[in-house]
Amino acid sequence: MKIAVIIKAGLEHLQTYTSYKNKVTYHPENLFLSTEDKSALEYALQLIEVKGGLIDAYSFEQGEVADRILHEAMALGANTATKIVTGDLKDPMQQNYLVKKLIQYLKNEGKKYDLIITGYSSFSQFAAIIADKLKMNYYDQLTNIDVNFNYEMKLEKGILKGQCELPMVITNLSSINTPRLANFSAVKKAINSKITEVSFKKLNKQKVSQIKVETEKSEKMIFNLDNDPDATSKLITLLERNGIMR
């Protein structure tokens, strides 16, 4: 089986972006491979243990974050690592462009996959674009999947159960499995492993979204009915103004 895993950093750290005097600063030092991508790699490893094959890891993260998470992926068992050094895949306005470029790159390199796993991406459309453009089946937000391709997708009040068909693109949550830990010799080997670098033509600056950081805390307002007989109507006005009550 040929498997590609597109990995990302886990954006759990509040201070990844900070703002001072309207300038947004990015802090990559706390970013590591996301838990969903660790589970995606674990699933890929389970599949090749049963069916044989190779795992290629790709990342759209930039600079030291890309190197760090690709080394993590190789320590866990990925066979090759490729970082794409153009653009920001998290930006919804760049995803369409970047994914089309990735698909073109895969076609040029003659890379065909039976399975592409993208970790958690319900916040984005890039996995859906890959599936659509490569004419692969698409299963997203999987909360469970086994090596026979039986899957579960969580909705709000229940789950959808079915069976996947190859070739396919899947997105998954961390609940699909418990990832293994990398052993020391794998970590040592991964640190010295080669990472292939790929760049695309940059996207027009006007089509890129701006990043902002909310520095103002939302107002807290507690009225006192004894001192202010109009407290209730003032509360309604405030809630309506802030879009909380209509």
């Binding site: 859906a128 659509d132 509360l235």
Partner: protein, 307 residues
């Protein structure tokens, strides 16, 4: 400005895919031409609800439609929008809404912004914010003339009626996917976007009647603390807290609730908390974004009169 189309799924066998809070709230967020497109297997039963949405509605109906049949919905939408010059398609900010939105955006070759917030007009266009993971950063996105988003907002139904058209839905694909509901799937409180909850500070079962009226006016679900359900004033299934439901609504109104940790553990993930209590030092005010120090029953009465 691009016309907006809000997509709803109404499967009588599966209680999800639609959100009446967002349905009734969208009219406040968009000034452009607004429409609702519904995919359903029981059009005649849901027609009245959509007559009060404040937006002209088209129901695509087929007896055999199922929420798991993504392919037929996507094919219908693709055919409708493939040659339009501008549109903003809106899905619910839910797993199923995000899944359909991403798939449709890929098919229509346009952009998709999941869980869009802070919708605003900017330079004759629509701008939205999108949080970057759990960081404090957001993307400020100016949507193109063709775009798809998922979002959530609040509103109440309109008194006046609008047009609802029912047309036949052609099902091109069969779905072999099974739906299995969770144990709380019939309890609307577990999934409500707006919750109005009462505590022992309301003093009697009788005082929960005005609270229920307020809940209806706010298109909200009624909840209660354990102290209230233990007294039998409200059904046990409505208990919020460590012993029963843990919920995360957009808006949580707490009336006569002091905020003991056994209760707050069930609601502390609410986006906005509005508290009313006579005791200014009650712990609920630490969680509250807005509130009133005063008699909860009096405030409920005033709210019912003013809304």
């Amino acid at each position: 400005m691009a016309p907006t189309y809000y997509i709803q799924l109404e499967d009588k066998n599966i209680p999800e895919g639609n959100d009446s809070n967002t349905l009734f709230g969208l009219k406040y967020n968009f000034k452009s031409n607004k429409n609702v497109l519904v995919f359903s297997n029981h059009a005649s039963e849901i027609k009245e609800k959509y007559e009060h949405s404040g937006m002209p509605t088209t129901i695509y109906n087929s007896e055999n439609y199922s929420i798991a049949n993504f392919a037929s919905v996507l094919k219908t939408l693709k055919e409708k929008f493939a040659f339009k010059e501008s549109y903003l398609i809106i899905f619910d900010s839910s797993n199923i809404g995000n899944s359909l939105g991403a798939r449709l955006a890929a098919m229509l070759d346009t952009s998709f912004v999941a869980n869009a917030e802070n919708i605003q007009e900017c330079d004759n266009n629509i701008c939205v914010d999108k949080k970057i993971g759990k960081t404090e950063g957001s993307y400020k996105i100016s949507l193109e003339s063709k775009a798809i988003i998922s979002t959530a907002c609040n509103g109440t139904l309109e008194d006046e009626k609008n047009d609802v058209k029912i047309i036949n839905l052609t099902l091109n694909y069969k779905s072999n996917i099974k739906y299995i509901s969770e144990k709380n799937s019939n309890n609307d409180l577990a999934y409500a976007k707006v919750v109005v909850a009462g505590g022992k500070g309301l003093n009697s079962a009788e005082n929960f009647k005005p609270l229920q009226i307020l809940a209806t006016k706010l298109n909200a679900s009624l909840g209660a603390t354990k102290a209230v359900t233990d007294q039998g004033w409200v059904d046990e299934s409505k208990m919020i807290g460590i012993s029963n439901l843990k919920i995360a609504p957009q808006v949580y109104y707490a009336f006569g609730i002091s905020g003991a940790v056994q209760h707050t553990i069930g609601m502390n993930k609410s986006r906005y908390v509005i508290a009313v209590n006579t005791d200014a030092s009650a712990p609920i005010f630490k969680l509250a974004d807005y509130g009133i120090i005063g008699d909860a029953n009096l405030v409920i009465k005033q709210l019912n009169n003013l809304l």
